[in-house]
């Protein structure tokens, strides 16, 4: 009930802000806008990309409890591009606090040992400094969530993700052999528990069901460094490519479509995009997407 209320409220405030004429980017700010910003500093381009969508205030209401879900899956360093860039995270946490959030939680269900991944990724240091709450998964807090999907019905989810008002998804763009790529929708694997590997069968369908059955308020894709090969864990620096780009979108599917384009893959290579399109989650054709690019 609470969640529904907040969704309603946020929809109301969002539309109110949308109608108001005083905006940083009035012409481009639409609810379906996807911002793609390229630049030298990951911190700056993250901030700019959110501003292009109308600023964090459009998404976050005062006194909100906000969950930020980066990819902290692997015991790897920033340069190896297996985890979300901590600088991107720093920018987002700052913006969320500035927008009046009461509490910010950063959390992921990693593949490697959580204590190691949180530390080596550099995310622990940044988050602890920022005043946000860095949380580890706790298997005692798993609850069964009904995704009401076509393939994926009920699956255990960490309560922490369901108890918040707003959810910001911060994936890193990476190669992923079985899913095609890992971007926004694939990043939602981090909210669930249980034997996640089981979902690799019909992975595309499952990912689309996961993304549809769980409300994401904002997706900020870190494509500053991308892992071109041997993902999602990587390790070799020669597989990493500097793209210096952030993609920001409210629609999780359309953000992913832009990311696939940036990576240089075809939509057909990424099954979950097709599956999400079939579920009516948005456009899969990049020419039909309201995309604004900026180079700073």
């Amino acid at each position: 009930m609470k969640r529904r209320e907040f969704i309603k409220k946020s929809a109301l405030t969002a539309s109110a802000v949308y109608l108001s004429p005083v905006l940083a980017y009035p012409a481009s700010s639409g609810k379906n806008l996807v911002a793609r910003v390229t630049g030298e500093s990951p911190y700056d381009i993250t901030k700019r990309s959110v501003e292009m969508l109308g600023g964090m205030k459009e998404i976050i209401s005062k006194q909100d409890i906000v969950m930020i879900k980066p990819n902290i899956g692997w015991n790897r360093k920033v340069e190896q591009a297996a985890n979300t860039n901590p600088e991107v995270l720093r920018a987002i946490i700052e913006m969320v606090f500035d927008a009046g959030a009461k509490k910010v939680i950063v959390m992921d269900n990693p593949c490697h040992k959580a204590e190691d991944t949180y530390r080596r990724s550099g995310i622990k240091a940044v988050v602890e400094k920022s005043g946000a709450d860095l949380r580890y998964t706790d298997e005692n807090r798993l609850v069964i969530h009904n995704f009401k999907g076509e393939k994926l019905k009920k699956w255990p989810v960490f309560k922490d993700f369901l108890e918040v008002d707003k959810f910001i998804n911060v994936p890193i763009l990476k190669h992923h052999a079985s899913a095609g790529l890992t971007i926004g929708m694939k990043n939602l694997y981090g909210i669930i528990g249980g034997r996640r590997g089981k979902l690799h069968r019909n992975m595309g369908e499952n990912i689309a069901d996961l993304a549809k059955g769980f409300k994401t308020h904002l997706t900020i894709i870190d494509a500053y460094r991308i892992l071109k090969k041997n993902g999602p864990v990587g390790g070799r620096l020669s597989d990493v490519e500097l793209k210096k780009t952030i993609i920001c979108s409210r629609n999780i599917l359309e953000g992913d479509v832009v990311a696939v384009d940036l990576f240089g893959k075809k939509i057909e290579d990424v099954p979950f995009i097709e599956a999400a399109f079939k579920r009516g989650m948005g456009e899969k054709d990049i020419t039909k997407i309201n995309l604004k690019s900026l180079n700073i």
């Binding site: 040992k113 949380r135 079985s178 069968r201 992975m203 070799r236 597989d239």
Partner: protein, 516 residues
């Protein structure tokens, strides 16, 4: 007990607590605490002359670092068996429980269980003979190995489990209790307890043994130290020549036997002072009301009552040691051409490993993912509690070399992180009857995803195959490149099959046996 505690006794208690705290601090730091900078807890092992002897006998080489154990040996020549009473953490724990279980009054003169006291010398002799003939079982009895093993495999996980369960149950409740406990639970879960529950395959057996050792203190004070510990026996032998002696003033002594009420070897110091058994605890000096008991430095010992092992017992121990040492060598895995189990990265060849390993469990404590497990009889009957790798409980973390840093006897040799990443523990082998990409004919590849080798030792090839519906489909089937695979076991660990994994980590091509 007198109202005023003897200063020497007080000092002894402080020393015991101090060394106990240091021991546990080092051990916990070795553990999988979320830090990369940690101190090694094997320092205690280097001060253990028993390990010096058995390590020398087993490997025929002298590890220089074990010469540190000559320091307590030298000190024993002066102060007697002070090590047991003042330093040994296992001794302190036994001492503490003996004190907990103490009885109010001793009626009559206690008779020293001399027969039982001989047992530890027999065990010492037995252990040494076994080691000479190729079966190193020193670690079964050595107090440091015993305590490290018991703490790592039993006490630590058990305390964590009980804490979590209690707090969880409390936090679930509604009302005031839950309100108070919830923040405690959250704090404990975030900061203190390990993120994932830890456990060990041999915890039950080791736990029961540890429990019995603790409970035996009810029967006799410091039971383990007096009757079993071979290190205590070794110090007992050395302390025969020590300078520090007990002196009983026979004129003032009322033979009240109060000195027996705290004696660590369960004796009556006023009439049968056993120098080799005395742990210099100063309890008798403290307890003695007429102050008849004192200590003095003297060259000539005044042992009132000697322990004589007897020729029969000694030869019996030697002969049985020789005979029994051959048994593990002529049976079980040691005569098999292959061994299916794997050892931690950096391990030496199997024969040398069994010689060197003292079953202390340091590597298991250091392993952050619970991959290293104590063996039962998998590696032979004499290999009990040696470390083996169990991919169903953990995996070898690619960016970690902690287990290679903590082994006190170098059964696991020191490797840098770069060396460890290259070290081939074993190889993954696909079970095609189970792997989804073969048996059921659909894409899965969780193992490929997790493979930490940058070039990927697990890859796909697209093939036409029949799936579980009988249809001909294109499937990305996995295959392993043995030359790249390092045998870290994460593939087996993450395999989504619920019954048994479709890919198994085995000792195939393990580097320690075949380097080419």
């Amino acid at each position: 007990m007198s109202v005023k505690t003897n200063k020497k006794k007080l000092l002894r208690i402080i020393s015991q607590i101090l060394f106990l705290v240091v021991f546990f601090y080092l051990l916990i730091r070795t553990g999988a605490a979320a830090t990369e900078s940690f101190v090694y807890s094997d320092y205690f092992f280097y001060f253990d002359p028993l390990l010096l002897i058995i390590n020398f006998l087993a490997t025929h080489t002298l590890a220089a670092i074990f010469l540190l154990s000559l320091i307590p040996v030298f000190l024993t020549l002066i102060f007697g068996r002070f090590f047991c009473g003042w330093i040994c953490p296992m001794g302190t724990i036994n001492h503490f429980f003996s004190w907990i279980f103490r009885r109010k009054k001793t009626s009559g003169v206690e008779v020293v269980e001399k027969k039982l006291l001989k047992l530890k010398y027999i065990i010492l002799l037995f252990v040494i003979v076994m080691t000479i003939f190729g079966t190193n079982i020193g670690g079964w009895f050595d107090p440091f190995s015993l305590l490290t093993r018991s703490t790592t495999l039993v006490v630590n996980p058990s305390v964590n489990y009980l804490t979590e369960t209690t707090l969880k149950a409390g936090a679930k409740d509604t009302g005031i209790l839950a309100k108070g406990l919830k923040p405690v639970y959250n704090f404990a879960k975030e900061k203190v307890l390990p993120n994932k529950k830890r456990g060990y395959l041999q915890s039950v057996l080791i736990g029961i043994i540890f429990f019995l050792i603790i409970i035996s203190n009810y029967y006799k004070r410091r039971f383990y130290c007096n009757y079993i510990c071979p290190l205590g026996a070794l110090y007992g032998l050395i302390s025969k020549f020590s300078l520090l002696n007990l002196r009983v003033d026979t004129k003032s002594c009322k033979e009240c036997n109060i000195c027996s009420s705290g004696c660590t070897y369960n004796g009556s110091p006023f009439k049968d002072y056993l120098k080799s058994e005395c742990m210099v605890c100063y309890n008798c000096e403290d307890d003695c009301t007429p102050d008849s008991i004192t200590t003095e430095f003297r060259f000539k010992g005044v042992e009132r009552n000697k322990i004589d092992l007897g020729r029969r017992r000694m030869s019996g121990s030697i002969v049985s040691g020789i005979f029994l040492s051959s048994l593990p060598r002529i049976s079980g895995v040691s005569i098999s051409k292959t061994h299916p189990f794997e050892r931690p990265p950096g391990s030496v060849t199997e024969d040398e490993f069994l010689d060197k390993c003292i079953r202390c469990g340091e590597c298991m404590q250091a392993c952050p993912t619970n991959f290293i497990q104590p063996a039962f009889f998998e590696t032979g009957i004499d290999g009990i509690w040696t470390p083996i790798l169990e991919a169903l409980t953990g995996y070898c973390e690619y960016e970690c070399n902690r287990c290679t840093q903590v082994c006190p006897t170098n059964a696991i040799e020191k490797l840098t992180l770069e060396q460890k990443k290259e070290f081939k523990i074993g190889t993954a082998v696909i079970d095609k009857d189970r792997c989804y990409t073969y048996a059921d004919g659909y894409n899965c590849a969780v193992c490929e995803e997790h493979c930490p080798v940058p070039e990927k030792a697990i890859r796909f090839r697209e093939v036409d195959t029949w799936n579980f519906e009988g249809k001909l489909v294109k499937v990305k089937q996995i295959y392993v490149i043995p030359d790249l695979c390092i045998g870290c076991g994460i593939c087996e660990n993450v395999c989504p099959r619920s019954d048994a994994p479709g890919i198994i980590n085995t000792s195939e091509e393990e580097q320690r046996e075949f380097e080419y």
